[in-house]
């Protein structure tokens, strides 16, 4: 009989990695401050004591080198997990990621397999400014060849991480700092959940209906799922029943889950913390737009995201550009009041 206990998302990720490392000696971890420190955001907490420095390897600040090293080691049959401390730092090593890790499988007609998990911290809202607050999963979903995983809670985080480690393909795994459950950063407590002791997987490309509703669909991922749930609880009191669809993965994308929900509610709000332009919200909206012959929309699609500006430092500015619970609730209210056909 398995017992469930509550874990923070950080603990769930570390547990997933630890269990897979026990099962498979080919799994090892590289990254900055992941050993003694346990990862700046706790993703490798406690692992150095169990597995030692041979398998939990602190690296120099040389991302191109060690992320490329993960690619090379994977091609030799190892199963590296490599941490990029903040997603914002991808710039220093992007070539190794998008031209090699992402493309070698295709360019070799799948003769080369690269079982790499590249995990990284995302998200803002705590005053870390333009170079330490981004999400950027949209950018990586845009480039072919990378699976993109974005958990919103501890239960999903563990299952998705184990799935990622067992996948023979490169998986980018994005954990939002504001739902890791860290003791030094305010977080949405909905992200801390019961997590089964045993190892389990969650398939990629399978979204989760986090809350059922009939009036409006809110598609979200990462911390935005937690914000959407708070907004939905508030809207419930006004008689607005919002359905929250947690995408869980962008690549592969569970388009059917989105379509099912929008067909039911007729109203779509896509709430994202990544940049609004040329990203996740546009992709979801386009997927729906391509199938308008199959459903009836009661209001135009509505998108929330960071509006084409770098994340500002000052608190009132930052709060204004990152979609908040109130923005989600207000958007839903506006959509309930709107009509597709204009009155004469």
């Amino acid at each position: 009989m398995t017992t469930a206990r509550k874990l923070t998302m950080a603990q769930a990720i570390a547990e997933a990695i630890g269990q897979e490392m026990e099962r498979d000696p080919k799994v090892f971890v590289m990254g900055e401050d992941i050993a003694r420190y346990g990862g700046i955001f706790g993703a490798t907490g406690g692992l150095i004591d169990r597995f030692g420095p041979e398998r939990i390897m602190d690296t120099p600040i040389s991302e191109s080198a060690f992320i490329g090293t993960a690619t090379g080691a994977a091609a030799e049959g190892m199963r590296p997990i490599v941490e990029l401390m903040f997603a914002d730092f991808f710039g220093v090593c992007m070539d190794q990621i998008y031209n090699h890790l992402a493309k070698n499988t295709y360019m070799s007609d799948a003769n080369v397999r690269l079982p790499v998990v590249l995990m990284t911290a995302i998200g803002g809202g705590y005053g870390d400014a333009a170079q330490h607050s981004q999400c950027l999963y949209g950018l990586f979903a845009h480039v072919p060849g990378l699976k993109v995983v974005v958990p919103s809670n501890a239960y999903d985080a563990k299952g998705l991480m184990i799935q990622a480690i067992r996948d023979d393909n490169p998986v980018m795994y994005f954990f939002h700092k504001g739902i890791m459950g860290l003791p030094w950063m305010a977080y949405y407590e909905g992200s801390t959940t019961e997590v089964p002791q045993e190892a389990y997987t969650i398939p990629f490309g399978q979204a989760r209906v986090a809350r059922e509703g009939a009036d409006v669909t809110i598609v979200a991922l990462s911390q935005m799922v937690q914000k959407a749930l708070v907004a939905a609880a508030e809207l419930e009191k006004e008689g607005i029943r919002a359905e929250v669809v947690d995408l869980r993965t962008l690549v592969p994308l569970d388009t059917d889950a989105v379509l099912r929900s929008v067909t039911k509610t007729g109203r779509l709000l896509i709430a994202d913390e990544d940049y609004l332009n040329f990203g996740v919200t546009g992709e979801i909206a386009a997927q729906v737009a391509e199938r308008l012959d199959r459903m009836v929309l009661k209001s135009p699609v509505h998108r929330l995201g960071v509006p084409g500006v770098p994340i500002p430092y000052s608190r009132p500015l930052e709060q204004a550009v990152i979609p908040q619970v109130q923005d989600i609730a207000d958007a839903c209210r506006a959509m309930i009041g709107a009509n597709l056909a204009k009155a004469a």
Binding site: E32, D33, A35, R36, Y37, I40, D58, T59, P60, I61, S62, E63, S64, D88, F89, G91, V92, G125, Y126, G127, D128, A129, A130, Q131, H132, P183, W184, M185, A186, Y187, P307, G308, V309, P310, P312, Y313, S314, R315, P316, L317, E318, Q319, A320, V321
Partner: protein, 335 residues
């Protein structure tokens, strides 16, 4: 190279100013971040209080900033790091506007858009960023511009020993060597890249030795001493000004506080900081100044009082300044 008495006093006073600033910031940073008025169960909330986000303080590293900046003019460029306050202060960035920026206020250098790691003061040719290793290429650029404009201006890139393993270090040094750029690369070796010490990050003992790989002279400053830094920097600045090209200087300095404020530093040997503080460069320089008859107890007290008042004024200015309007968040993506 011997500094004039005036330069020595300038360095001493600026070290006092930097230390007072960082110690004040360490206290102010904690405002609003501790229980009971934060989320239940948290020990600390990084996003709360008047100075949210990360904070990287340079107490202990003052000699590097003052020893180099003592040679610089207003037109010379300094590009700093995520731990920028000592460089900004030594370069002459106005304390009040810098502090207002760190508080995210409308009187800040960037009206609150940048914050502590992104301080821009074009008037004093100062900038910094939060990406490790990012200071070096722009410093090369400032140096290149000076060359094209026919000026004897120089540029300084500050970075840590951790950054010396980043690609930009190697590319920038090669480029500076190849194009004979008037840039000075100054490596602050405080031994720690967050939790990883130099022995576990770097394949060589001395970063100064790496200069030869790029055809550049390398100078090693083995003590956290303002006058030693002054001497090395003087040589490098003079070389750059007369068209002799770039230099790499490595300074062994000491980081007294955590990588960021709130860092429990569990990775750091107990007692290490206490030991380092025994060689505090501020009393060190004070001793030298006293020996030369440039400083006595009364003068020291007066200097400290002046510096204390300056810092207090800057923080008060920041507190009094208004926050920017939310709609400003959409402004000035483009000029």
């Amino acid at each position: 190279m011997e500094p004039t008495p005036e330069r020595m006093m300038w360095m001493y006073e600026n070290m006092l100013l930097i230390r007072e600033y960082e110690e004040t910031m360490a206290k102010v940073y904690l405002e609003g971040k501790l229980p009971p008025n934060i989320q239940k169960g948290l020990a600390f909330d990084i996003g709360s209080g008047p100075v949210p986000g990360e904070m990287h303080l340079a107490a202990g590293q003052e000699p590097v900033a003052v020893g180099v900046c003592a040679h610089l003019r207003k037109e010379d460029t300094v590009v700093g790091t995520h731990r920028p306050h000592h460089f900004a202060i030594a370069k002459g960035v106005p304390l009040d506007r810098m502090t207002a920026e760190i508080f995210g206020k409308s009187d800040g250098l960037s009206r609150g858009k940048g914050g502590h790691m992104h301080l821009f003061d074009p008037e004093h040719k100062f900038s910094c960023s939060g990406i490790v290793g990012a200071s070096m290429p722009p410093a090369c650029g400032a140096a290149l511009a000076a060359k094209k404009l026919g000026k004897d201006w120089v540029a300084v890139a500050f970075f840590g020993e951790g950054a010396a393993n980043q690609g930009t270090f190697h590319e920038s040094l090669n480029l500076a060597g190849l194009w004979k750029l008037p840039v000075i690369f100054v490596c602050e070796d405080n031994k720690w890249a967050i939790s990883v010490d130099k022995d576990h990050s770097t394949a060589v003992r001395s970063d100064a030795d790496r200069a030869g790989a790029y055809g550049l002279p390398g100078i090693s400053v083995g003590r956290n001493d303002a006058l030693d830094v002054y001497s090395a920097a003087g040589e490098a600045v003079e070389r750059a000004r007369r068209g002799g090209g770039a230099t790499l200087i490595e300074v062994k300095t000491d980081r007294y506080m955590g990588h960021f404020q709130g860092d429990a530093e569990v990775y750091r040997p107990k007692g290490e900081v206490g030991e380092l503080r025994k060689n505090d460069p501020i009393p060190g320089l004070a001793g030298t100044l006293r020996a030369r008859g440039l400083l006595d107890a009364a003068k020291d007290q007066a200097l400290r009082a002046r510096v204390h008042a300056q810092v207090a004024r800057a923080f008060e200015f920041a507190r009094q300044s208004a926050y920017p309007q939310p709609r400003e968040a959409l402004e000035h993506v483009f000029a």
